[in-house]
């Protein structure tokens, strides 16, 4: 198991190096000069030059350059080199937009996104798995059709549209809206916190719960056809015990796999939902900085999200062994 984890981590590092290079190159290939974007209409060339220098955009892209004389290769300061150094040192520089240290901003905003993700995943599991079981157990019944139709609806409705509706309908009908423009911490006011994070988490969870529900249903149906399930019934176990104790655990492997992958998707969805519900999390931060072509922040966040996805995948793979003891890593 240790060898397996170590090998996966090493592969992860290689992936991250490629990811960092790809992100760096792609962002710099896209047309548009951040210094010009930052400058106003009446911006003079020396203003642009000053901003370019301030942002380090006047340095070469990569630390290696080629020359016509020996030793033909020169190493020097570069934008990529500076950025990679900053990733390791933790000094991520200053945001072009906010003019504040990026590390501090990430530190402040991470808890918001983290809570949103955790709440979303909890809701996803709480909604998706039980309804998947119900749907499988009562296959082809009215309940099954109702659950499946709802799931298709959940998958079809775009979350930005649903999020907007969740904001504008209650205020139009009851004059109510979730708190906006400030973050209520869970420790200070748990109810207020849930009022604030509940609606966006529910919106994000709807689509993922629908997917999980469908997957849990099909997986459970598959498992319920297995011989050992028949054996369990034959030895006189109640149907409830057959489904929950023998069927459910074995049917959860694909569900866990998808849940792990959904974390990355949810981080993407959070960009929009945090905007709509005014939650100052990482998604909103990246969105703002992306508009501003703040290379440093966007590159850093891409690599961090990449790292999270790699770690989540690893965690999912490792968890298989718990769900199915027959699985061994060697």
């Amino acid at each position: 198991m240790q060898t397996f984890i170590l090998r996966r981590l090493m592969v992860g590092v290689v992936i991250l190096i490629f990811l960092s290079l790809a992100t760096f190159v792609l962002l710099h290939v896209v047309p548009g000069d951040p210094a010009k974007l930052r400058c106003g209409l009446s911006c003079q060339p020396e203003q642009v030059a000053a901003i370019r220098h301030q942002l380090g955009l006047d340095k070469p892209l990569f630390p290696i350059s080629f020359s016509g004389s020996l030793p033909f290769i020169e190493f020097g300061p570069s934008q990529y080199g500076d950025w990679v150094k900053s990733l390791f040192s933790g000094d991520l520089g200053v945001s072009q937009y906010y003019q504040q240290p990026v590390a501090t901003a990430l530190q402040n905003r991470f808890p918001v996104t983290f809570e949103l993700m955790v709440l979303t995943l909890i809701l996803t599991v709480l909604i998706g798995v039980p309804f998947g079981i119900v749907s499988a157990v009562f296959r082809n019944s009215a309940v099954d059709y109702l659950v499946r139709t709802t799931a298709i609806l959940g998958l079809s409705v775009p979350n930005f549209w649903l999020g907007t509706l969740v904001l504008i309908v209650p205020v139009a009908v009851w004059g109510y809206s979730p708190p906006l423009g400030r973050v209520i911490s869970f420790s200070a006011d748990p109810i207020g916190n849930l009022k604030q994070f509940g609606p966006p988490a529910a919106v994000l969870a709807l689509a993922s719960a629908a997917g999980i529900m469908r997957l849990a249903r099909s997986s459970l149906l598959e498992v319920m056809r297995q011989d050992y399930m028949r054996t369990a019934r034959a030895k006189g176990l109640k149907e409830r015990a057959v489904v929950l104790r023998h069927g459910l655990k074995n049917s959860l492997i694909p569900v866990v796999t998808v849940l792990g992958l959904q974390v990355a998707g949810l981080l993407g969805g959070a960009i929009i939902i945090e905007q709509i519900f005014t939650l100052p999390g990482l998604g909103q931060y990246v969105f703002q900085e992306l508009l501003y072509k703040d290379f440093q922040v966007v590159q850093t966040m891409t690599v961090y999200v990449g790292a999270i996805v790699i770690l989540m995948n690893l965690a999912v793979d490792v968890s298989y062994a718990w769900f199915d003891p027959r699985i061994r890593y060697s």
């Binding site: 896209v30 047309p31 548009g32 000069d33 010009k36 974007l37 930052r38 400058c39 106003g40 209409l41 009446s42 911006c43 003079q44 060339p45 020396e46 203003q47 030059a49 000053a50 901003i51 301030q54 937009y97 906010y98 003019q99 504040q100 901003a105 402040n108 905003r109 907007t164 904001l167 504008i168 205020v171 139009a172 004059g175 109510y176 809206s177 708190p179 906006l180 423009g181 400030r182 973050v183 905007q275 709509i276 519900f277 005014t278 100052p280 909103q284 931060y285 703002q288 508009l291 501003y292 072509k293």
Partner: protein, 585 residues
Amino acid sequence: MAGSYWDKFTAQRVSRRRVLQGAGVAGAAAGAVLIVGCGSGKSSNNNGTSTGSTPAGGGTPAAPTGFRLLNNSGTPKAGGSYNIGTSVDFDTFDPHISIAGGVAYFPRLYNAVINRSPVDNNFKFDDLASSLEQPDSTTYIFTMRDNVKIGPNKLGVPERNMDAGDIKATFDRIKNLPQANAYAFVGPNIASVDASADGKTTTIKTPKPYGYFFFRIGSAINLIVPKELIQQADKMKSASAGAGPYVLNPGDYTEGQNAKLTKNPSYYRKDENNNNASLPYLDQMTVKIIADRSALRTAFQSGQTEQYTAQDVNDANSLQQGGPNYTVNRDTTNTFIAFTMNPLNAPWKDDRIRKAANFALNRQEYVDRVYAGQAKQNGLVHWSLGDYALPPSELKTLQPFDPQQSKQLIQAATGNSTIDITVMWPDNSIIEEHNLHLPIWLSQMQNAGFNIKKDPQAFATWLTNYTNKKYDASLALNQVYETAEFEMDFESKEGPAGSNIYSNGLGAIDPAIEKAIIDSKAITDPAAQAKAVQEAQRMMYAKGPMFLPLVTPYAFTLFQPYVHNIPSGIGAGSALFLNTIWLAK
């Protein structure tokens, strides 16, 4: 001063016009705002509270007729917290380099030397200066007000009176700071700033007469910062210390959430209409960062904010239907979408083709379809700049909607009734108005004989091409011009701010027009300058204008019924300096 396209881009679908409009009327301060005639140096106590006020709530507000306070009934009451939602987050609270949301709040924190409203020349707000002497057309001697005291703060700036040294330190800083927003103004237009030894007099000299001096010097990007704070400018990023009506203490700005401005108990202005009560009335102003428009609207409807700038008149009307008795402020704006031609490139180098474009456009269609009638047609200078713009009656003859004449001009120039043109614009614009203008514009031009080769570009590409003048023609995003200078500059040889970017104006091909533009800048009497600007426009029409601002709309800001003394009619930029609002709750 002009806002940049980038201001708009970063605003996430909310124009700077809205930023200013949204914040502009929200401050609290003098029911008895002291308005001083700068030019004469004489003071008057015209606080404007009794002129043309509009009753609270409901109905269509009257057209602007100068400065007035909306919902001005009752005796002002001190206290309370005022909440504003803004879609534009703060970048830095350094007033000289911020280009984002902070711009709309700096007049709450710092002082100007003086401010003059670009939409109402009668409105002059003397702030640090109590009087002005102009011995010649390039010298401005300001006498400092002697009671503008820096408020209690946590940045270690002494609580002393602001003096001439602060003005000198501020302009010296801007002059040596290329990334400062006002660098383009201060560099070429301010020759020297001298402070008298006693700190009571500031002498500013311009290299040559400059007619837009007062508008520029009083803008929100030229605010005066205490010299001690300039020495430690890093502290300005997230806090303030000054003599403005409010102070932002360290820790009161939470990135991505809100900024809490606290009343400055030392603020010097009093409400003369209310027994010289201390101003501002509000204890706190909280600016909430609410990025999404639906969320902004929701926050207002649910009472989490006290004001909301509607998307348009229909949005304002729908909020009023069945809602509380909101007060609506319909105010002028300085924004428009413009069509820019490059007169050095074919086919636009032919005067007749430029004129054909001018006749092709039915500006009233934009007024009706984009703004539901709540806008007006522009000439070459937008209408809300008053006397600087040509009157509608004259525009009817100078820019009639006449597609047949367009075709005749094209025929005369090319021998064909149609002509192929390439036009770029920023694709997938996040500015709603642009997306609404585009199809109308394409249809109008097509009907007048222009076969358009569409060249939509990613925003950054478009901006790069625009600034490098690599285009034949462009439909430009809406822009914010608070004076006629930039519109005139577009038609000049060197483009806006003389920086040789954005446009090759008519000045490049017609020395007489170039001279008229340059001469108009040097006229310091507003009435005479307005006449000169009008005359320059007539010359441009005769030559075939290359920069066509289409229409400029009104802005609609709604206030909760308990918000009183809302400044209106002077333009959002000037309203930022007033702190008249109080809350009846």
